[in-house]
């Protein structure tokens, strides 16, 4: 069966995927709640709905970060070789990028979880 994930990704963009997902999630959550609370009186929408929607958004963001981490892990040859990957070769560069992407994915995962924690506890506007 052919995998839908490309065998190799030769782009620096993979490095930025997870931090970009974190940034979009962070801005999205804050903007959505700020706009909702400013317009709550005129909207036919409960805060619960906003929380649930942002909860779904968080799960999607975490899933994309996990996928990015898997690709990075694969690019890093599943951890067969140890860092620092500082040889001036194509392999060295690929492994280094995979390893750095994996670490950034982990950081982004934690950052997304931290940004989503208020969704569990803040139940109303102006609290």
């Amino acid at each position: 069966m052919k995998s839908f994930i490309p065998r190799e990704v030769e782009s620096l963009w993979t490095l930025f995927t997870a931090p970009t997902v974190w940034a979009i999630h962070f801005v999205g959550c804050y903007a959505a709640v700020a706009v909702y609370c400013a317009k709550a009186a005129t909207l036919d929408l409960s805060f619960e709905t906003v929380r649930l929607a942002l909860g779904g958004f968080t799960i999607v963001a975490l899933a994309v970060i996990v996928l990015s981490a898997y690709l990075a892990w694969r690019q890093w040859s599943f951890g067969v070789q140890d860092p620092p990957h500082d040889e001036p070769t194509r392999d060295g560069r690929t492994l280094f990028q995979g390893y750095a992407t994996l670490l950034l994915s982990g950081l982004s995962f934690v950052a997304v979880v931290y940004a989503a924690i208020p969704l569990l506890f803040i139940a109303e506007c102006q609290r």
């Binding site: 982990g106 931290y114 924690i117 569990l120 506890f121 803040i122 139940a123 109303e124 102006q126 609290r127």
Partner: protein, 343 residues
């Protein structure tokens, strides 16, 4: 007992492990730290449920911070004392667990705890609930305080002093007239910013009688540090009596009032029951009953009132009130005495 042991250690000995000046400094510092934990202006000496939650949050965060610090120091001592080098693999494990996993989990727990406490720190009062409603506006460098009735109409105005009944939530609508200020009564709760063009709500409850000091907690100009106020928490029946008395307040000293009006003070200040109806500066009705002068800057004496009238800028740099040192000394003294007696 602790102090005795500490002073014993501070006695000069042959090996001098604890130099005397260092010990004395430690004693003075610890005395200062301990004394600053109580009083009318301390988060660690709460006088209401919101402040109690803030203090609780502080202690939990302190404990969490202490756990991280002790763990870090222990790891440092272990690393320094170990004679044989770690294998690369075990060093990597220590970095992964000690540097990433454990701090992430501790921070997650502390963040969740802080979030869980938030509704208790910031209780929300629905618009239709009957509570004491007080509007406070931050101005450079004083506080305009308006008491509202059930319908939200202004009953009367005062300055730099807030009165609330004990045991009942008081709802503050916080505004700013010029720049950003921040309303903070550490003994009663957390701080809340006052933003020009916005009204920020804050609910505070005092559960014991007393006078508590509040401050501006956002730098707002030259005299930011001289912008304080007092909150007096009194029994509910005493509060009701004060509200009724304050609504019908009028000065008795006709001569002092005439000097006050003739020198134009009424253009900026109001005194209820008189022709003085200025709105630029603080309302001076019942001014003599206040605890402090010039937003918590000076003691409330006739001499200090006269000093402030003669040259406000010397006491509060950047204040909008011009100096009145050109007035005859006799007039300044009469105005000061008149204001001191206003009830």
């Amino acid at each position: 007992m602790m102090d005795e042991r500490l002073t014993d250690r501070c006695r000069p000995t042959r090996n001098k492990r604890f130099p005397v000046p260092l010990c004395l400094l430690a004693l003075v510092l610890s005395a200062c730290l301990i004394s600053s934990c109580s009083g009318s202006h301390s988060t660690l000496d709460p006088a209401g449920p919101e402040a109690a939650k803030v203090a609780q949050l502080f202690y939990v965060m302190l404990a969490g911070g202490a756990v991280i610090w002790i763990g870090l120091v222990a790891a440092l001592i272990y690393a320094a004392s170990k004679k044989h080098a770690h294998s690369e693999e075990s060093a990597g494990r220590v970095i992964l667990w000690g540097g990433a996993v454990i701090p992430t989990v501790i921070l997650c727990v502390l963040l969740s705890y802080g979030m869980w406490l938030m509704p208790a720190i910031r209780p929300w009062v629905p618009d239709d609930q009957q509570v004491r409603r007080i509007e406070v506006t931050g101005e450079q460098f004083w506080w305009r305080v308006r008491y509202l009735d059930e319908a939200g109409r202004v009953m009367f105005e005062t300055g730099n002093e807030v009165r609330i009944p004990v045991g009942e939530p008081a709802h503050f609508s916080l505004k700013a007239a010029d720049v950003i200020h921040s309303f903070w009564v550490p003994s009663l709760g957390g701080k809340m910013d006052m933003i020009p063009g916005r009204t920020n709500p804050l609910t505070l409850t005092a559960d014991k009688e007393g006078t508590y000091r509040g401050v501006c907690a956002e730098f707002c100009g030259e005299s930011h540090a001289l912008m304080a106020f007092t909150v007096r928490a009194v029994a509910p029946e005493e509060h009701e009596a004060w509200l009724a008395e304050r609504r019908d307040s009028a000065p008795q000293d006709a001569e002092g009032l005439a000097v006050f009006l003739n020198n134009g003070c009424g253009a900026c200040h109001a005194i209820s029951g008189t022709a003085a109806n200025g709105r630029i500066g603080p309302d001076l009705t019942a001014f003599g009953a206040r605890d402090m002068l010039a937003a918590g800057t000076l003691p409330h004496t006739a001499e200090d009132i006269a000093r402030f009238i003669a040259d406000p800028g010397e006491i509060k740099p950047g204040v909008k009130m011009p100096r009145f040192g050109m007035l005859p000394e006799d007039d300044i003294e009469k105005i000061a005495a008149f204001l001191k007696e206003l009830r």
